[in-house]
Structures are given as structure tokens and as C-alpha cells.
């Protein structure tokens, strides 16, 4: 009987072990950081960019080869050396968690009404019809499907005039604001009518296209572009204990920005400068500053900031460095605050 007792105990214990281990299986899951995908060049971005090169401009007299199709948005955006040029992939962002949160929660009743007015007055559903928004210096370009749009209501308040073969310019009488509707796919805004006209001239081939402000290989992520060094220096100067702003101004030539919003918001900033050593030193200083900020946040008991800085890193390579930053959705939800709309956007 005693001998059978050991066997019985073995069987019962095996059953208990299986139950306990199965209970432990439930605790397996994604960690908080599994949803962070830092933007990197991917073949699907290349394919997307290739599909968008639909604008065939007449070749210039000096050109020898056939005309190369170009991306109309990049042709329209002026290339201002040292300036900021940024593109938002509105259609991709709309379906992202942060996009959904912004649409559902951050648009108040007033903003929702304005969107409904735009739909009624112009036949433009801003949330559905807009594909990309680009901004460079004095010009902002909205690209999308505006084939169903009716601009009659705009002409009632603004002064219209045709420009080129496919554009209509609307000027606001009291302010220096110009809106241009180009075909059924583009709306251009700006304070300087001459810049808007120049953009249309480039689109119609009346002006030679400048090299794109964002090269093809840098067009990846849901937000991408180049940021003016002065803008970043201004930002850094706000809380600069390490003299980083001056070092940044002297060492950096260009900062390329990429943002992925497919899950959590992940940001990569590629920093380039003429002096590789100076850029390397800046990377080390920035890494140390992030580390100190994190330690300070831990010491101050600011766990959210410390967690955020956990995900920050500097990756130096070939005389440049990239700064990776991540903003988890949980963090953003808390930071952005509760829903402005009582229905949480469900009525949309």
C-alpha cells in the first residue's frame, strides 16, 4: 500500500503541477515596449513612394534622358535650404492608435462641427479625403481626393482667379492668405501668393523643379522631413543646463525626422554635421544629458518621465548619430488628458 502511495502521490502531484503551470501561462503577454517600432526604411515605403511618382514634367532643354516621373507633393513644396520641410501621412496616421485617439477624444464639439461644416460647404471630408499634408517654409500643401469638392462657397468670401492650366487661386481680401486648388488632388495654402504661384508653376513645368526638400530615400515613416537647426536650438535653449544648444548650433547641419505611429509613437531623429568629430561629441553629450535627466526623474519620483527616458538612446555611426525616442500610447493618453467629447467620438 505504501509503495502504491508514492505512485499515487506522483500522479496527483503531476496533475497539480500541470494546473499550476497552465495558470502561469496566462501571465505571458506582450511587454509594454513590444509595440514600439522605430521607423526604418522598408521596401513598402519604397513601393509607396514609387506609386506616388505620377507627375511627368516636360524635360528641360538641357536634359538628355527621358523625363522621370516625380512625386507632385515634393515638386510643389519649395526647397528652402536650412529650413523645415515636413510631411504627415494623414491617411496612415488616421488609422493609427494616436490618430484614433486624437479624432475620438481631442476633437471637441466645436472642432467636430467645423469638420461637418467643411463637408457640407465644400464636399471635403477632412478625415477621409486627405492623404498627405506637407509643409515647407511659406507653403503648406494638402494632397488627397478632392474630386467631389465644390469650392463655390469659398469664392463667395475669397476672390478667385484662375492660374495656369489647372489651378484656381483664392485670395482673402483682408488678410495675406492665399488658397490654391490644383486639379482635384491638391490644395495649397500660404501667406505669400508668389510662393503659391511658384509651386503651381513647378507642378505645370513652367519652372524647373528644384531638388526635392526630402530625398526619396528619406521618405519613410508616418511623419518625415528635415527640421531647421534654428528651430531645434530654440527648443533646446528652454532648459539647457549643459550648453547643448550652442554645441548643437555649431555642430549640426541637418536633422532628419521620422515618426512611426503604427502602435506606440516612435521617433527617430538623424543628426548630420560637417565635422564628424563634433557631431560624435554632441551625441555623447546628448546621451549623457538624457541619462542625467533620467536619473533626476528617478530621484524626483517622476516615474513616467523616467520610463519615457528609458526608451531614449543615441546611436552614433559614420560621423552622424540618431536619437531614438518613444512615446507609448498609455503615456500619451495620460498626457493628452480625458476625452473632450462626452461620447468619446462614437457618434462619428
Amino acid at each position: 500500500m505504501r509503495r502504491v502511495g508514492w505512485l499515487l502521490a506522483a500522479v496527483i502531484l503531476l496533475g497539480v503541477a500541470a494546473w499550476l503551470m497552465a495558470r502561469g501561462d496566462r501571465g505571458k503577454g506582450k511587454t509594454a515596449h513590444d509595440n514600439i517600432h522605430f521607423p526604418r526604411p522598408r521596401s513598402r515605403d519604397d513601393q509607396r513612394n514609387a506609386r506616388r511618382r505620377t507627375l511627368v514634367l516636360p524635360p528641360s532643354p538641357s536634359a538628355t534622358g527621358p523625363a522621370v516621373p516625380q512625386d507632385p507633393l515634393m515638386v510643389a513644396l519649395p526647397n528652402t535650404p536650412g529650413g523645415t520641410t515636413i510631411v504627415f501621412e494623414a491617411s496612415a496616421m488616421r488609422d493609427s492608435p494616436i490618430g484614433q485617439h486624437m479624432v475620438d477624444c481631442l476633437l471637441g464639439e466645436r472642432e467636430a462641427r467645423e469638420l461637418a461644416d467643411a463637408k457640407r460647404d465644400f464636399g471635403v471630408d477632412v478625415l477621409e479625403d486627405v492623404q498627405r499634408v506637407g509643409h515647407s517654409g511659406p507653403v503648406t500643401v494638402v494632397e488627397g481626393d478632392f474630386s467631389e469638392a465644390t469650392w463655390g462657397r469659398l469664392a463667395e468670401r475669397w476672390t478667385p482667379r484662375p492660374y495656369g492650366s489647372s489651378a484656381t487661386l483664392y485670395a482673402e481680401p483682408d488678410r495675406d492668405q492665399t488658397i490654391a486648388v490644383y486639379g482635384g488632388q491638391m490644395v495649397l495654402f500660404g501667406e505669400d501668393a508668389a510662393e503659391i504661384e511658384a509651386a503651381i508653376d513647378r507642378l505645370e513645368g513652367h519652372l524647373p523643379p528644384a531638388p526635392p526638400a526630402i530625398p526619396d530615400w528619406a521618405m519613410y515613416g508616418d511623419v518625415y522631413g528635415v527640421i531647421a537647426v534654428d528651430t531645434l536650438v530654440e527648443f533646446l535653449q528652454k532648459d539647457d543646463d549643459h550648453g547643448l544648444a550652442d554645441t548643437f548650433r555649431n555642430a549640426v547641419e541637418q536633422v532628419e525626422l521620422h515618426v512611426d505611429t503604427s502602435d506606440d509613437v516612435a521617433i527617430v531623429a538623424d543628426v548630420v554635421g560637417p565635422d564628424k568629430e563634433a557631431v560624435g561629441d554632441l551625441g555623447k553629450s546628448l546621451g549623457a544629458a538624457l541619462s542625467i535627466a533620467r536619473m533626476r526623474a528617478q530621484a524626483d519620483g517622476d516615474e513616467r518621465l523616467a520610463d519615457l527616458l528609458d526608451l531614449a538612446r543615441i546611436s552614433p555611426r559614420d560621423g552622424r548619430f540618431s536619437l531614438d525616442l518613444a512615446l507609448p500610447m498609455d503615456f500619451l493618453r495620460k498626457e493628452l488628458g480625458p476625452c473632450k467629447r462626452k461620447d468619446g467620438g462614437r457618434a462619428r
Binding site: 505504501r2 509503495r3 502504491v4 508514492w6 505512485l7 502521490a9 506522483a10 500522479v11 496527483i12 502531484l13 503531476l14 497539480v16 503541477a17 500541470a18 494546473w19 499550476l20 503551470m21 497552465a22 495558470r23 502561469g24 501561462d25 496566462r26 501571465g27 505571458k28 503577454g29 511587454t31 509594454a32 551625441g283 555623447k284 546628448l286 546621451g287 549623457a288 544629458a289 538624457l290 541619462s291 542625467i292 533620467r294 536619473m295 527616458l309 528609458d310 531614449a312 538612446r313 543615441i314 546611436s315 552614433p316 555611426r317 548619430f321
Partner: protein
């Protein structure tokens, strides 16, 4: 008490085996070599550069404790998988040698019950595995902590978790030695359980790949009983890397492994009680 005496006897036997001493010296030499070859540059709490044998490793600049999480994660996986495999091979011979003709008769003649003899052997092997894991993990942690100035005991915690997994596997090895007195078979059972434990740890991912029906039910049923080796390795790595771990689930897994080990031990005792020597 007599169980402890048997365990101590086993530890004395292990110490007298030269290759266990060689193992201790080997681990010490490896740690010393690693410690001398590793150069870490820390600037204001940020890991700025790492060189191993003069070669630059990871060039990312980030807080030293954040950067070290990846190192400790890797260390935890090495301890969990490498340590388990080594333990299986190194300890496969203990139970068969206990049962070897001449020795077993001598042991059974002593005033020790059969279950105490087996439990003592089991306990002795576990202590041995624990000492090896803690020595290796502790030494590595000490070197990295001195080099970086960031002190943590988490990799040692990871080594302790790996030891619990080893307890489950060694329980089955001990039981197999009672069925067939062979170090090779004992090691083979350990390796088989190690591999199937990796599969069992991923059972929830793998099961949907099978067509619903008998095959999937058989897979789910079989893997339900196996220790989750890969899950424990992942948990050890998470702990070492300061990733939050679900305490309740971890407690369940640890208790499950311990009970599995006791189940295997009970089976081994049942078999031992039945046998005539």
C-alpha cells in the same frame, strides 16, 4: 536529517571528482578573462562605449542601467539555457552511480530509508546546480557592476529561477535512472525534456498552427504536463532586464516546476521501493 547527510555526501563526492573542480576553475578563468578584456566607458551615467578584446561592441549611448539590461538579459539566457544543458550533462551520472552494483548494496545497508537516499541525492544535485549558477552569475554580475558602477542582483535572481527549472528536469532524470541505470539515458531524458520544455513554453503560439482536432488536442494535452523551460528562461531574462513581471503568474510557474520535480521524485521513490538489489 538523514536526507541532508546523503546530500552532503553527494557534494563531497562531487568535490572529489576532478572535473567538477576543473569546472570551478574554468568558470573562474572565464570570468577573469572576461573581466580583463572588457572596457566600458561611462560618461555622466551614460554608457558611451564598450570594448571586448579591443573590439567596439554596441555603439549606442544610453543610460548605463538601461544599456546593461540588454547585457543582463543575454546573461540570463546563457545561464538559463547553457546552464541547464551543462547541468543535465554534468549531473547525469550521479543517480546511475548511486545505483551501481556494490555501492547501492552498501548504501541500503546503512540506517537510511530508501526515500531518504533518493531525496538526499536529489537535494545534493540541486544544491550543486544552485552553487554553480550563483557562482557564475554572481561573478559575472560583480565584474559588470565594478566596470559600470551600476549594482544589481537581478542576474543572480535569474540564476535562481534557472535552478528551479533544473530541479524539474533533474527529477525526471532521476526517475529515468531508476528505470534504466544508464548515464546516457538519464542525460537523453534530460535533453528531451529540455527541448520539449522549450516547445511547451510556446504551446499557446504553436497550438493554433495545428488543425483543430485530435492532433491539436494531443499536442495541448502532452505539453500541458511539461515544464515550461522557455517561459522560465524568458522570465529570468525579463527579471534580469528589470522588465516588470507578473508576480502571480511567476509564482504559479515556480510552484508548478517545484511540484513537477516532487512528482518525478515521488515516481522515482515508488520505483526505487519496488526494486530488489
Amino acid at each position: 536529517m538523514r536526507t541532508l547527510a546523503v546530500a552532503l555526501d553527494l557534494l563531497r563526492e562531487a568535490a572529489s571528482r576532478r572535473w567538477f573542480l576543473a569546472l570551478g576553475i574554468g568558470i573562474t578563468l572565464l570570468l577573469a578573462c572576461f573581466g580583463l578584456a572588457l572596457r566600458i566607458e561611462v560618461v555622466d551615467g551614460a554608457l558611451a562605449a564598450t570594448r571586448l578584446f579591443g573590439k567596439v561592441l554596441d555603439t549606442d549611448i544610453r543610460s548605463v542601467d538601461v544599456a546593461m539590461r540588454y547585457v543582463y538579459r543575454a546573461v540570463a539566457y546563457v545561464i538559463a539555457y547553457g546552464g541547464l544543458l551543462f547541468g543535465i550533462v554534468a549531473c547525469a551520472d550521479f543517480a546511475p552511480s548511486l545505483l551501481s552494483p556494490g555501492r547501492i548494496e552498501h548504501l541500503l545497508a546503512l540506517p537510511v530509508r530508501r526515500w531518504e537516499l533518493l531525496a538526499g541525492t536529489f537535494l545534493g544535485v540541486l544544491v550543486l546546480a544552485l552553487l554553480g549558477a550563483v557562482y557564475g552569475a554572481g561573478g559575472l554580475t560583480l565584474i559588470l557592476s565594478v566596470k559600470t558602477g551600476y549594482w544589481t542582483a537581478r542576474p543572480i535572481l535569474a540564476a535562481l529561477l534557472a535552478s528551479v527549472t533544473f530541479a524539474a528536469i533533474y527529477g525526471a532524470m532521476l526517475a529515468s535512472a531508476l528505470l534504466a541505470r544508464s548515464a546516457a539515458i538519464s542525460a537523453a531524458v534530460g535533453v528531451a525534456l529540455f527541448v520539449s520544455g522549450i516547445v511547451a513554453g510556446n504551446r499557446e503560439t504553436l497550438a493554433p498552427l495545428l488543425e483543430p482536432g485530435l492532433r491539436r488536442a494531443l499536442f495541448e494535452g502532452a505539453t500541458l504536463l511539461l515544464p515550461r523551460v522557455s517561459t522560465m528562461a524568458d522570465t529570468a531574462a525579463d527579471l534580469a532586464a528589470s522588465v516588470p513581471v507578473d508576480g502571480l503568474a511567476l509564482g504559479s510557474r515556480l510552484a508548478g516546476l517545484a511540484v513537477f520535480a516532487l512528482s518525478a521524485l515521488a515516481f522515482a521513490i515508488w520505483r526505487f521501493e519496488q526494486r530488489d538489489f
